[in-house]
């Protein structure tokens, strides 16, 4: 059942607006369907994990069984049947980890190539894609296919690998930091991930090192009925800097698929981590809402040390349901947290996304810029918490949340929670909701620009404050994605 390039191209054509909707025919090894202790033991054994890791998984699993699902988000969906999914799927060819990129199944490499993610270092360096070098960890269903530029990065003492490898090679770091920002008991989705996570990326940047290139992980869900439960752990030691990108896509399947990930970021004294996401999971059928990814993600950063900084930038265009609140715990004095977000919903998508900024240390600062765009029959909610603890002298927060409605069948909602327990703190929140201005549309059209293009132009302008925080290579892609996501939003 080998798929030829031709059929892939055909499928791609059929997928219309969603370019990443093709499926790679590949022989896959799966765990039996369903979730129980045996499955967790199976995953752990597949990964040849040490005993302590298995214990952690099982502890999380038994806690998960007792946990209620979070029900406060403004999203509606049929309850998840956790027994009707696969929790582990990996290409057969990956059973024995390939030594070099040339040993990797070409079909896998082709998949990434088609997605615009070349995995051969020399190709990237020779500038085939006309980009600056980006190191990539490519995760395919439950397994990391390849991680590029590892050797180059090692020269700087930077560890960039799949999490599975890190558990083998750097157990002391994983043991210390994993679960320190997002404990397994945090919420039901995070708890599930803690029990069944399969792969993900691990980054450690040593003291004083400025990472010389962008690091990135590209997540791809391929198999049907398969959940992806990846986990990312980023540690920036004192005075270091790293910029990390994350991209995700999935084929178009009629069944809903669960993606419950965890990202933990730790920034020590004077360290800075910039985390960018372009999320383009399959959003489900445009006209019926069938299928699509449930994107239930817990992302949290800890500004552990003084003067540390964590910045989240996200462009959320995909997924049937997005439930995601990249947050910062501002523990170190003078630490800073930032959240820049563009969320676009169209068709029958539902997004409930935002951030939490918890001010604990003195002189901590946070900044939130959120731009929501709703079209079609979608619902788009910004939900954010800003909390100032009693010790956070002179804490500062500034929040702007703007929503844009395109059409009369969608919804835009803003739910900020602002709590202050320190009278020297200053918190400001502003939000507006409006439609695309007729004046702006007419102005563009009078200059010859079509209505659809004008909307894309205006929406990109509306989101610019956020998009400009993306690394250059991503910004262009993101702008195109904004335009594509809005296709079909006008009659």
């Amino acid at each position: 059942m080998a798929a030829t390039e031709k059929t892939i191209a055909q499928v791609e054509k059929l997928s219309g607006g969603y370019d990443a909707g093709f499926y790679t025919e590949i022989e896959s090894e799966k765990a039996p369907k369903g979730l129980n202790e045996d499955i967790i033991r199976f995953i752990s054994a597949k990964k040849k994990e040490p005993e302590w890791m298995l214990e952690r998984r099982l502890k999380a699993y038994y806690h998960w069984l007792k946990m209620p699902e979070p029900d406060w988000a403004k999203v509606k969906f049929t309850p998840i049947d956790y027994q009707d999914a696969y929790y582990y799927a990996a290409p057969k060819s990956m059973e024995n980890a390939p030594d070099t990129i040339d040993d990797v199944d070409p079909k896998l490499l082709d998949t990434y190539e088609k997605l615009g993610i070349p995995l051969r270092e020399q190709e990237m360096l020779s500038g085939v894609k006309n980009r600056s070098a980006v190191a990539v960890d490519a995760v395919f269903d439950s397994i990391s296919v390849a991680t590029t530029f590892k050797k180059e990065l090692k020269k700087y003492g930077i560890i960039f690998s799949s999490l599975s490898e890190a558990i083998q090679n750097h157990p002391e770091l994983v043991k210390k930091y994993m679960g320190s920002v997002v404990p397994y008991s945090d919420n039901k989705h995070a708890c599930l991930n803690s029990a069944v996570f399969t792969d993900g990326s691990f980054v450690y940047v040593p003291e004083g090192v400025r990472c010389p290139m962008e690091l990135s992980t590209y997540f791809r869900i391929n198999e049907m009925n398969t959940g992806q439960f990846e986990r990312t752990l980023i540690i920036a030691d004192k005075g270091s800097y790293v910029s990390y990108l994350e991209g995700c896509t999935a084929p178009m399947h009629d069944e809903r698929q669960l993606h419950a990930a965890i990202v933990e970021v730790i920034a020590h004294e004077d360290a800075e981590v910039k985390y960018s996401t372009v999320q383009n999971w399959y959003p489900g059928d445009f006209n019926t809402g069938a299928g699509g990814i449930y994107n239930f993600v817990t992302k949290r950063g800890l500004c552990e040390g003084r003067n540390s900084k964590i910045s989240w930038t996200q462009v959320e265009t995909g997924s049937a349901i997005t439930w995601k609140y990249p947050s910062c715990i501002l523990k170190g004095d003078n630490s800073q947290g930032e959240f820049y977000s563009v969320a676009i919903t169209n068709g029958y998508q539902q997004a409930d996304t935002g951030t939490k900024m918890i001010h604990i240390g003195k002189n901590t600062k946070s900044r939130i810029i959120s731009k929501g765009i709703s079209a079609g029959h979608s619902d788009n909610t910004y939900r954010g918490v800003v909390k100032v603890m009693p010790g956070a002298e002179n804490a500062r927060n500034f929040t702007v949340c703007d929503s844009l409605l395109i059409g009369n069948d969608c919804g835009a909602h803003t739910v900020p929670y602002v709590e202050s327990r320190n009278n020297t703190a200053t918190l400001g929140h502003e939000a507006t909701t409006s439609k695309i201005s007729e004046d702006q549309l007419f102005y563009c059209m009078q200059r010859g620009i079509s209505k659809e293009e004008a909307i894309a132009l205006i929406v990109n302008g509306f989101a610019k404050e956020v998009l400009q925080h993306l690394p250059m290579e991503f910004a262009v892609e993101a702008q195109k994605l904004v335009a594509i996501s809005l296709e079909g939003s006008i009659g």
Binding site: D439, Q440, F442, C444, Q446, R447, I449, L457, G461, K464
Partner: protein
């Protein structure tokens, strides 16, 4: 060039009712001519500019508008733009976050595409923008800013003229381009327009005051009142209007008609 025949047009009011603003307007502008329409506030001058350029909410109930024999009224705004209709807005619209360069590129290429020409690449575009903006004394800094955001009144109007120069229209409507400008700014704008005058390009200059016409010399001047043109003459008509004021002028006209 442009032929407007017995044009009637309505505007939707806030209560959703249709109110007739243009009431049987006739106008013919030949290639290379500059016509001015003058008149007091509220007679339908701006409405006319929106009707000609095809804005939503302005509905034509009778009459016809043709540009070089093509029925404009059937076309949407971007198609009219492609045919060569350009409106310099009285209040140029701010589009936050959209860079001037990006906007101009989108517009120029959209028009080229509609006209069946090749799209310009980034370099070609940059050259075009540089050349045109230099002619109009527009700084590079202004081109890096977002469309009309934070522009002064003069900058906004100069920006309109820049776009006019770049999009190379056939028929330009200037809607109260002088409003809110001081004399120096009016001169700059008028210079820009004068440079664009050519035998195959016509202009319709809508203005409240005569002073713009000191700098953009019209071939023909029309006076508009209550949705139609009530008098047509040469440039001297503008001076007469300025001297008498609209009220007296219109009164005199009425008396003349009655007699």
């Amino acid at each position: 060039m442009i032929n407007i025949n017995n044009l009637h047009a309505c505007v939707e009011t806030a209560d959703g009712e249709a109110k007739e603003i243009i009431k049987g307007l006739n106008l013919e502008i030949k290639s290379g001519e500059v016509h001015a329409i003058m008149g007091p506030n509220g007679v339908g001058k701006s409405t006319l500019s929106y009707v000609l350029s095809g804005r939503d909410g302005y509905n034509v109930t009778d009459g016809s508008v043709e540009l070089d024999g093509v029925d404009l009224l059937k076309l949407n705004p971007e198609e009219r733009a492609a045919l060569g209709v350009f409106l310099a807005f009285q209040y140029p619209v701010e589009i936050p976050g959209v860079n001037m360069n990006v906007f101009l590129k989108a517009a120029v290429n959209a028009l080229r595409k509609q006209r069946g020409e090749n799209e310009l690449d980034a370099l070609g575009m940059l050259k075009l923008i540089k050349g045109k903006s230099k002619e109009l004394g527009i700084s590079d800094d202004m081109m890096r800013r977002t469309v009309n955001v934070g522009f002064s009144g003069g900058e906004k109007k100069r920006n309109e003229i820049l776009q006019m120069a770049m999009l190379e229209p056939k028929f330009c409507i200037l809607d109260e381009t002088d409003s809110g400008l001081d004399i120096d700014a009016i001169k700059v704008v008028a210079d820009g327009v004068n440079k664009l005058r050519s035998p195959d390009r016509s202009f319709l200059v809508i203005t409240h005051y005569q002073r713009l016409l000191d700098y953009i010399k019209p071939d023909i001047v029309h006076v508009m009142a209550d949705g139609k043109i009530v008098k047509t003459g040469g440039p001297e008509l503008a001076l007469e209007l300025e001297e008498k004021g609209y009220a007296e002028f219109l009164k005199a006209e009425e008396q003349e008609k009655a007699a």
